[in-house]
C-alpha cells in the first residue's frame, strides 16, 4: 500500500503525487470521548506526536492536529479531546457535533469504564443525528492484559450490536494506535471525502450515505481492525 503516516516532511509519497496533480487536503474532525483516566489524552498525544509539521508550539494537548497521507488525498485530522469527569457528561454532545469520527474509549482493566461507555453511547444516540459520525469503540490499556476486566469478546459484541467499529489499543506501548488512525482515515475518506470539491468543512457529512456501515468488511488489507 502506498499510504503512510509521514515521519519525514514531504516524503516520496507526497512528492510523487505532486507530479500528477495537487493532492487535496481534507479536514477531518475526530473527537475523543470516555470516562476519566481511560487514556484519552494519552491517545491524543500519541496521535498528535508523529505529526511532522508541528503547527504553532502546542500550548495544550486538548486540541491537536495530525496529517495522514492516503494515496489520493491528504487528511488533516483535528483531534478534540474532552473532559472526562462525570459532571461534564451532559455537555459532551456539543463536542460530538459535526465530528466525522468519534473514538469512544474505555479501559480494559476497568469494568466501570466499560459500563460508562455504554451510558455515554445511549446519551449520544439520543442527542445526535444517527449515522453522521463514524464511531469506534476503543478498549485502551491493552498492555494491562493481566488486569483485564473486559474481554475483547465483550467489546466486540457491544460494537457489533451498536454498529460501531472496534479495536483494542495501548497508548502506553503504541500498539494498534497507528493502525487505528489509518482505519479511521480510510473509512472517513470513503464516506465523507468523496464530496465534489473535497472541502469537507463546507459540506454536509452526507448522513444518508453514512447510514450503511459494515463492520464485518474491512476496506482493505492495510487497515486490519481489532485483535
Amino acid at each position: 500500500m502506498g499510504e503512510s503516516l509521514p515521519d519525514v516532511p514531504g516524503g516520496d509519497q507526497e512528492r510523487g503525487a505532486a507530479f500528477r496533480r495537487p493532492v487535496r487536503t481534507l479536514r477531518v474532525k475526530m473527537v475523543l470521548l470516555g470516562g476519566s483516566g481511560v487514556g484519552k489524552s494519552s491517545l491524543a498525544l500519541r496521535f498528535g506526536k508523529d505529526e511532522f509539521r508541528s503547527t504553532s508550539p502546542t500550548v495544550g494537548c486538548a486540541y491537536l492536529t495530525r496529517v495522514v497521507h492516503l494515496s489520493e488525498v491528504t487528511l488533516r485530522f483535528e483531534i478534540w479531546d474532552t473532559a472526562g469527569q462525570e459532571k461534564y457528561h451532559s455537555v459532551t454532545p456539543l463536542y460530538y457535533r459535526g465530528a466525522h469520527a468519534a473514538l469512544l474509549v474505555y479501559d480494559i482493566s476497568s469494568r466501570e469504564s466499560f459500563i460508562r461507555a455504554q451510558l455515554w453511547l445511549k446519551e449520544l444516540e439520543k442527542q445526535s443525528v444517527p449515522g453522521s459520525t463514524l464511531t469506534w469503540l476503543v478498549g485502551n490499556k491493552g498492555d494491562l492484559d493481566q488486569d483485564r476486566q473486559v474481554s475483547a469478546q465483550e467489546g466486540k459484541k457491544l460494537a457489533k450490536d451498536r454498529s460501531l467499529f472496534f479495536t483494542e489499543t495501548s497508548a502506553l506501548s503504541g500498539d494498534q494506535v497507528n493502525e487505528l488512525m489509518l482505519d479511521v482515515a480510510h473509512r472517513v475518506y470513503e464516506h465523507v471525502g468523496e464530496e465534489q470539491g473535497g472541502l469537507t468543512e463546507w459540506k454536509e457529512t452526507l448522513p444518508e450515505e453514512m447510514y450503511h456501515r459494515d463492520t464485518s468488511n474491512p476496506l482493505s488489507s492495510c487497515c486490519k481492525v481489532g485483535p
Binding site: R24, K29, S36, V59, G60, E78, L94, G98, E204
Partner: protein, 513 residues
C-alpha cells in the same frame, strides 16, 4: 447615576423632572430626559435619518467603486493581471451564473445550518415579542461612531475585492443586494434571519468553490471578508434581536454568575497557581479577552477573543503544572475564568456567533474547539450544583444564600483567620486590590453581623428592662397599697385655716332708708 444624585438633592425643581420636550409628562434620564413617548419619536427620527445617511453612503460608495473598477480596468491592463496568480487570469474571471443565486437559495434548504443551530441553541426557537422596546435601543448619539466603523469596513471590503477584479465586483453586488434584501425583512425571527445569512454564505461559498476550482484557501479568505462586511452592516439589527429572549437569558446568566461569586479555584479543581506572577498575569489577560468579546461585531472577531482567552488559560495551566494542559484541565479553568469575568451579554454573544458565523468555523478548527468549550462552560454554569463543586447540598445552599463564605474557613464561620485569601492575588496589583476589597467587604459583613448582634442584645435588654421596671413597680405597689383617704370636700365657706388670705365672706348689708 447623575439622575440619582439629582434626586437625592434637597432642592429638586419640578421642571427638572419633566420631559425636556415640555409635553407635561415626566422625563427619564435613561431616555435623555424625555418621556417615553417623546423618546420614541426622537429615536425614530434619528434612526430614520441614519437609514437615509446609510443609503446616501451606500450610493456614494457604489459610485466610488464603479469609478475604481472603471479606472482599474482602464489603466491596470493585461500585463499586471497576467503576472498574478493563475486564478485571476481573464479566462477564469467570471464567477459563473450569479443570477441563479436566488433560485438556488430558496430551493436548497440547508439541513446543516438548521441542525447546527438546533444543536447549539436548543431554546432559541421559543421566540417571544418583547413588550418594552425602548429599554434596549441604543442612544441616538452612540450610532455615529458605529456608522464610521461601518464605512471603514465597506472601504476595506472594496479594496480587498478589487484584487479579484471581475468576480470581486460580482461578489460585492451580491453582498449589497443581500443587505438591502435583509433590511426589508425586519419581522423575521432570529432563526429565519440566521437561515437567510447562512444560505447566503453557503451559496456564495459554493460559487467561489467552483470558481477557484475546489481550492479551499482562497474561498475561505473571500468568505472571511464577506462575513465581515455583511455582519458589520447587519449587526445592529440582528444582535440580540427583539424577537428572542436573548436579553432575558443574559440577565439570568449575569445574576447567576454573581450569585456564584464565592466559587473558588479549589472547588472547580483548576490548576492555576495565582501566586506565580506569570500565571496571574495570564489569568487577568484571559478575563480581559473574554470581556472584550462583546465589543466586537464580526462573529469571527468574537471567536478571536475566545481563542485568545483560551490560549492565555493554556499558558497559565502550563506554567502552573509544568506540562501542557489537557481537556480535563482546560474546561474547568475556562469555567473559572467565565465566573470571574462575568462577560457582558454572554448568551447573546454565543447565540449571535452560532447564528451568523460560518458553521464550519464553529464545529471544526481550533476556534471551533474553544467556542464549543465556551458553550459547555455556559451550559455547565447554568446547571452547576453542589455535586459539581464537591460540596454538600447544605454548604452549597449556605454559600448561595450568602449566609456563609468559603473564603473564611468555610461553613463554621472562622472569622478570625482571614489570612488565606490574602496571599492569592498578591502578585498582581489588580488582583491584590480585588482581594483587598473582598476582605474589606467580608470584614464589613462581619461588623454588620456584630452590629446586628448588638442590636438584638439591646432589644433583649430593653425588653428585660421594662419587665424589671414593671416588676419593681408591682413590688412597690404591693408594699404600699393605695389607700383611698376619705376626703372631706372643703367648701370655701367652711372654717378652713388656710383660707386666711381669702377675703371675708360677703355679708348682706342693710341700708336703712
Amino acid at each position: 447615576m447623575s439622575q440619582r444624585t439629582e434626586r437625592r438633592g434637597i432642592h429638586v425643581d419640578q421642571s427638572d423632572l419633566l420631559c425636556k420636550k415640555g409635553c407635561g409628562y415626566y422625563g427619564n434620564a435613561a431616555w435623555q430626559g424625555l418621556c417615553s413617548k417623546c423618546w420614541r419619536e426622537e429615536y425614530q427620527r434619528v434612526r430614520q435619518k441614519q437609514i437615509q445617511d446609510d443609503w446616501a453612503l451606500a450610493e456614494k460608495l457604489q459610485r466610488e467603486e464603479e469609478a475604481a473598477y472603471a479606472s482599474s480596468h482602464g489603466t491596470q491592463t493585461q500585463p499586471h493581471s497576467q503576472a498574478s496568480a493563475p486564478q485571476q487570469q481573464p479566462g477564469h474571471a467570471s464567477l459563473g451564473p450569479f443570477s441563479k443565486f436566488e433560485e438556488k437559495k430558496t430551493n436548497e434548504k440547508t439541513r446543516k445550518v438548521t441542525t447546527v443551530k438546533k444543536f447549539f441553541s436548543p431554546s432559541s426557537r421559543t421566540a417571544s415579542k418583547k413588550e418594552n422596546q425602548e429599554g434596549k435601543t441604543p442612544s441616538p448619539s452612540t450610532s455615529r461612531r458605529a456608522s464610521f466603523d461601518t464605512d471603514q469596513v465597506s472601504r476595506d471590503f472594496v479594496d480587498f475585492l478589487k484584487n479579484l477584479q471581475k468576480p470581486g465586483r460580482d461578489i460585492h453586488k451580491q453582498c449589497r443586494a443581500f443587505i438591502v434584501n435583509m433590511s426589508s425583512k425586519k419581522d423575521l425571527s432570529a432563526d429565519e434571519l440566521s437561515e437567510c445569512v447562512q444560505d447566503f454564505y453557503q451559496g456564495m461559498a459554493d460559487r467561489l468553490m467552483s470558481h477557484f476550482k475546489g481550492s479551499s484557501e482562497p474561498v475561505e479568505q473571500v468568505m472571511d471578508q464577506v462575513e465581515k462586511y455583511i455582519m458589520t452592516r447587519l449587526y445592529k439589527s440582528v444582535f440580540c434581536p427583539e424577537t428572542t429572549d436573548d436579553e432575558k437569558k443574559d440577565l439570568a446568566t449575569q445574576n447567576r454568575i454573581r450569585a456564584l461569586h464565592w466559587v473558588t479555584i479549589q472547588m472547580l479543581c483548576v490548576s492555576f497557581d495565582e501566586e506565580i506572577p506569570e500565571v496571574s498575569e495570564n489569568v487577568v489577560k484571559a478575563i480581559t479577552d473574554i470581556i472584550e468579546m462583546d465589543s466586537k461585531r464580526v462573529p469571527r472577531d468574537k471567536l478571536g477573543c475566545i481563542t485568545r482567552c483560551s490560549k492565555h488559560i493554556f499558558s497559565a495551566i502550563r506554567i502552573t503544572k509544568n506540562e501542557p494542559a489537557s481537556a480535563d484541565d482546560f474546561l474547568p479553568a475556562l469555567i473559572y475564568i467565565v465566573l470571574k469575568a462575568n462577560p457582558p451579554r454572554l448568551q447573546s454573544n454565543i447565540q449571535y456567533i452560532t447564528r451568523f458565523c460560518n458553521p464550519s468555523r464553529l464545529m471544526t478548527g481550533e476556534d471551533g474547539y474553544y467556542f464549543t468549550n465556551l458553550c459547555c462552560a455556559a451550559a455547565f454554569i447554568e446547571k452547576l450544583d453542589a455535586q459539581s463543586l464537591n460540596l454538600s447540598p447544605e454548604e452549597f445552599e449556605r454559600y448561595m444564600s450568602g449566609q456563609a463564605s468559603p473564603r473564611f474557613g468555610g461553613s463554621e464561620g472562622d472569622w478570625s483567620g482571614g489570612g488565606p485569601a490574602g496571599g492569592a492575588g498578591a502578585a498582581n496589583p489588580a488582583l491584590a486590590q480585588l482581594n483587598h476589597n473582598l476582605e474589606l467587604l467580608s470584614s464589613l459583613g462581619s461588623r454588620q453581623e456584630a452590629v446586628a448582634e448588638a442590636a438584638r442584645g439591646l432589644q433583649a435588654d430593653l425588653l428585660s428592662w421594662t419587665q424589671s421596671v414593671e416588676r419593681e413597680v408591682h413590688g412597690i405597689l404591693e408594699k404600699y397599697p393605695l389607700e383611698v383617704l376619705s376626703c372631706t370636700v372643703s367648701a370655701i365657706d367652711a372654717n378652713n385655716m388656710d383660707n386666711d388670705n381669702l377675703p371675708p365672706p360677703l355679708t348682706p348689708q342693710v341700708f336703712a332708708g
